[in-house]
């Protein structure tokens, strides 16, 4: 049983490593991880689950992101269910400092203050 657990968690870690380098479809200079869209990779009841959170309700890139996640994992022989998680709601607080600097260098003014309350944090 402990063998199974070790194998599963290493599979989730492998997927997380692969997905960390996936870039945002609209802003290719930053990754989904840096943007805070990629939340977690975990073992669910029906296998591997990749948890993503939309930046805003109408984000048209979510379908593309889901496809990118699936094809990245498929290349490594992994299959996963993509779970769209709404709560806690995405906030610019989740963006890493490195991502803010990359945005600035790309010509997009990074958010520096937040109008809403801080909430949640991404999986390390």
């Amino acid at each position: 049983m402990s063998t199974t657990l070790t194998r599963e968690s290493s599979r989730a870690q492998q997927a997380w490593q692969l997905l960390q380098s996936l870039s945002d479809p609209e802003i290719p200079v930053i990754t989904l991880r840096e943007l805070g869209i990629l939340r977690a990779v975990r073992e669910g009841a029906d296998g591997l689950e990749v948890v993503i959170t939309p930046t805003y309700s109408g984000c048209p890139a979510m379908g593309q992101i889901e496809d990118d996640v699936r094809s990245t994992l498929a290349k490594a022989g992994l299959q996963a269910t993509v779970v769209m998680q709404l709560a806690p709601a995405w906030t610019t607080d989740w963006m890493t400092d490195a991502a803010r600097e990359k945005l600035r260098a790309y010509g997009i003014a990074p958010p520096h203050a937040c109008a809403s309350e801080k909430a949640g944090a991404a999986m390390p």
Binding site: P54, Y56, S57, G58, C59, P60, M62, E66, T81, V82, V83, M84, Q85, L86, A87, P88, A89, W90, T91, A115, S116
Partner: protein
Amino acid sequence: MGAQVTSLAAPVDYLLHLADNALILGQRNAEWCGHGPVLEEDIALANNSLDLIGQARLLYQHAAAQIGNGTTEDTLAYFRDVPDFRNYTLCELPHRPLMSATASGDRDFATTIVRNFLYSALMVLVWDQLQSSQDAQLAAIAAKSLKEARYHLRHSRDWLVRLGDGTDESHARVQAAVNALLPYTSEFWVQSAPEQSAQANGSGMDVAALRGDWNAIVDAALQEATLQRPGDSAFVPTGKQGVHSEHLGFVLAEMQSLARQHPGATW
């Protein structure tokens, strides 16, 4: 992506009421796309529209999961007719003074701003309450939508004050829009059967209890904008019960015709 399964779900008609409000107002605001008075406003209104359509999608997906039988967000948006829609009448009205001709294509920016203000002032209160809905998926949608409603309110309130406390022309037009649209808000406070069911099972709340807070938001903004609030009238619209103005049919005709001409089309 699969909708989250929740143990307790809000009544389908209540979810459709919330979704239809967002979709119909989103469709209306999208009429400004490419026609905004300045580029910044064109983009702002298109983004407001995208937020609302996004909220509608999440709510329709949740409703579709309860209905089953192959129902999807698309069948709910594109294959229902006027009496099936549960949106407030306010959301379907055209962007022009109500007494102008039906075929008029004019867009009155003051009408757009006042409507968005009256609606988002309500929705910041509604979404805030629904964050503690017993329907976990609805609570998650509410928390997301609240953040969007807050900046919709900030955007429309800023413009309301700027137009009201602006030139004689802008003041007159925004006052006319307030006079025309405020009576339509009386519908907010009359609980429908789905709203009562939602409150009873813990997924909804008593919308009439929000009236005092809503009045405070509206009155403070009108005062700052140097605008007068018209007195209450006996008129109560019935959109959320499926009895609509003549305008919703035109909105649906434009929004649904493509999907109905090419049923099942994918790209």
